[in-house]
């Protein structure tokens, strides 16, 4: 059946709550309203208010209470209504959850999923457009995922719920209803920590994830048609831990790598991916690792400003051509 990205998330929640009575959801407006984006639609009717909990506007409490329930064996899926609000829960995530097992001598687990609707391109302006993944991708003890397709959205969410660690799950708002995919009936999962080749090619590699996978694939098709370039596209899917083998394999294969993400350039994942390649595949490179990312500005509201700041298919095409000519 063809389902949207948001429906894939919703059905993963339904199925996991049915499968395991320790799974519950908690967040702002997740019960009656079914979530600001309807990710939790129908859960209240199906599972009742004990397992589908509306909270006050208290992000630290939402994550902190999730941690408390998780260490006692529950599997909470908590929602930040917008990923932008995750800053209010930063301490609970990076200090409380991420260090929990470490400071309990390995005798504690924190199976907690923090869902965070992220991303720009929906005229959300400064506080409804952020891509805060890089705040978390350097924190040991966390896992960070950013699915780009309905199949992965469902399969990775299921894996995250079944994982014994805190997982920050970034779901891109622009993808919610803009992409559809035929999903198999029944239970399936997508492993955390494994990247996926979305398109094979031998001339140049794009390494991307989340909201910019679609643009990267579009750009790859354009240069294939217009320039005869065979571009390989690797979807990271998980940002912590990075699939180093997959990153190095594509870099060694094509010798030219472009990293694309919607998060800002400075301090984004692109820098880390680039360093991994430099340190381990330098002799395979035929050009510098380059990056297409958001400008080092806040995501502004007015369309000409937002368009200027964000990556786009055209910007990726230009970068491919420039790198191919290097």
């Amino acid at each position: 059946m063809e389902v949207t990205y948001i429906k894939a998330i919703n059905s993963a929640l339904h199925e996991e709550m049915r499968r395991d009575e320790n799974v519950f959801v908690m967040g702002e407006d997740v019960a009656d309203l079914g979530g600001a984006f309807k990710a939790t639609e129908g859960l209240l009717d199906a599972f009742g208010e004990e397992r589908v909990i509306d909270t006050p506007i208290s992000e630290a409490l939402i994550v902190g209470a999730g941690i408390g329930a998780a260490v006692l064996g529950m599997r909470p899926v908590v929602e930040m209504q917008f990923a932008d609000f995750i800053s209010c829960a930063f301490d609970q995530i990076v200090n409380m959850a991420a260090t929990l097992r470490y400071r309990h001598g390995g005798k504690a687990a924190c199976p907690l999923v923090i869902r965070a609707p992220s991303g720009a391109g929906v005229h959300g302006a400064l506080f409804h457009s952020q891509n805060p993944e890089a705040w978390f991708t350097r924190v040991p003890g966390l896992k960070v995922v950013a699915p780009a397709t309905p199949y992965d959205a469902k399969g990775i969410l299921k894996s995250a719920i079944r994982d014994g660690n805190p997982v920050v799950y970034f779901e891109h708002k622009r993808l919610y209803r803009s992409i559809k995919e035929d999903l198999p009936e029944g239970d399936f999962t997508v492993p955390i920590g494994v990247a996926e080749i979305r398109k094979e090619g031998g001339d140049l590699s794009i390494i991307t994830y989340g909201g910019t996978l679609g643009q990267s694939l579009d750009a790859a098709r354009i240069v294939e048609k217009e320039d005869g370039l065979a571009v390989e596209v690797l979807d990271l899917r998980t940002l912590l831990p990075l699939d180093r083998e997959a990153i190095l394999a594509t870099a060694r294969k094509t010798g030219k790598v472009l990293v694309v993400h919607e998060d800002r350039l400075t301090g984004g994942i692109g820098g880390e991916v680039s360093a991994i390649i430099m340190e381990n595949a330098f002799e395979f490179l035929d050009g510098p690792v380059r990056r297409v990312a958001a400008a080092d500005a806040h995501v502004a509201f007015s369309p000409p400003l937002e368009d200027f700041i964000l990556p786009s298919t055209n910007k990726i095409v230009d970068a491919i051509r420039s790198l191919a000519a290097y």
Partner: protein
């Protein structure tokens, strides 16, 4: 609404007598442990920050005494006594302070950040008050699973200024969760006195804003703490909702061992030391007809043995191997509960 301790008749049944002597032992053990830790720190045998709870023993003793197995306790950084009261091996606690591989966190963190969930003790972080939302989550689980347990969250009046404390109490009130909030008001947040922290005298006054009751007692009077804890924890356990117990107290030492606490008045310290919880309870025991001198001797001997055994265990324990720094970062696949074994996975795969 300060509550006074109930006068107890001398004709109490034998189990109560045993219980009170046990409480006395615990307070003495906690004090002796604290004092030994301070000494070991001066001898450079304990590195890092040491946050003494000396002077505040009656609070942890009185609050933890009525707790049951399966209850969840989130101590604050000064609550060494909570670990002892919950049955954590004092040797492992001492090893934790010395950074040994046998400590609660296997050398990963210092002092009281190592928790022991097998004994229901959750390790805090240095972000004071951040354990309160966690305790609320534990109580949420108890409610969902209909467990007859309570969660106890300790915090200082300093942490009371943090947003986490407000968020936690508010949510606990909304859902009538079985959480006992315990404020140890020792009047100083590091150097900052109470009057610069809040415009009210009693943190307990805030409880009413969250839809439950707050109580104030002397945290230096074990009987006063006990009178509230036994009654109020039972009510919370019975499902009557959260409660806030504020215990007025004073720390004898600085914020940490590095702090000479020169911002405090000497007279103030002497005044509070004259209200020390241990002689106060000895006076009570004596008035009830106990031979306090011989009891004190016996208990001192037991306490000293226990503390010495803890020190011996910790000192003879090995330091962790360097590469263990990469262990216990991630739970391995399949791990889900608080009792799973040490993970060796360091890359988070799986």
């Amino acid at each position: 609404m300060p509550e006074t301790n109930v006068a107890r008749g001398v004709a109490e049944p034998a189990p109560r007598v045993e219980y009170e002597l046990q409480l006395y032992y615990w307070m003495k053990l906690i004090r002796a442990f604290e004092e030994r830790v301070s000494r070991l720190h001066r001898q450079n045998k304990i590195l890092g920050g040491v946050y003494s709870g000396a002077g505040q023993e009656a609070i942890v003793t009185g609050i933890c005494a009525p707790l049951h197995d399966g209850d969840f306790v989130a101590p604050l950084h000064r609550d060494m006594g909570v670990f002892i009261m919950r049955g954590v091996d004092p040797g492992r606690l001492m090893a934790q302070l010395m950074g040994k591989g046998t400590g609660l966190s296997r050398g990963k963190d210092s002092f009281l950040h190592g928790g022991d969930l097998e004994h229901g003790v959750f390790g805090s972080t240095s972000m004071l008050g951040s354990s309160l939302p966690v305790a609320v989550g534990a109580a949420l689980k108890f409610k969902m699973k209909k467990n007859p347990n309570v969660a106890v969250a300790f915090f200082g009046e300093g942490a009371a200024s943090r947003g986490d404390v407000h968020e936690a109490m508010n949510f606990a009130g909304v859902h009538k969760l079985r959480v006992v909030f315990v404020c140890e008001n020792n009047r100083y947040a590091y150097s900052t006195p109470l009057e610069k922290q809040m415009a009210i005298e009693d943190v307990a006054d805030r409880a009413v804003a969250y839809g439950f009751k707050g109580y104030v007692c002397s945290g230096n009077d074990l009987l006063a703490v006990l009178e509230l804890s036994e009654r109020l924890i039972a009510k919370t356990r019975a499902g009557e909702g959260p409660v806030l117990i504020e215990c007025k107290t004073y720390r004898y030492r600085g914020h940490s061992e590095h702090d000479a606490a020169l911002y405090r008045d000497k007279e103030e310290l002497i005044e509070w030391q004259s209200r020390d919880p241990i002689p106060r309870f000895e006076f009570y025991l004596e008035k009830k007809g106990h031979e306090i001198k011989s009891i004190r001797e016996q208990i001192d001997e037991r306490v000293n043995k226990t503390v010495q055994a803890a020190v011996d265990f910790a000192e003879s324990s090995p330091l962790p191997e360097s590469q263990e720094a990469l262990e216990d970062i991630y739970a391995p696949p399949g791990a889900s509960t608080s009792t799973n074994t040490h993970g060796t996975s360091s890359n988070g795969s799986g």
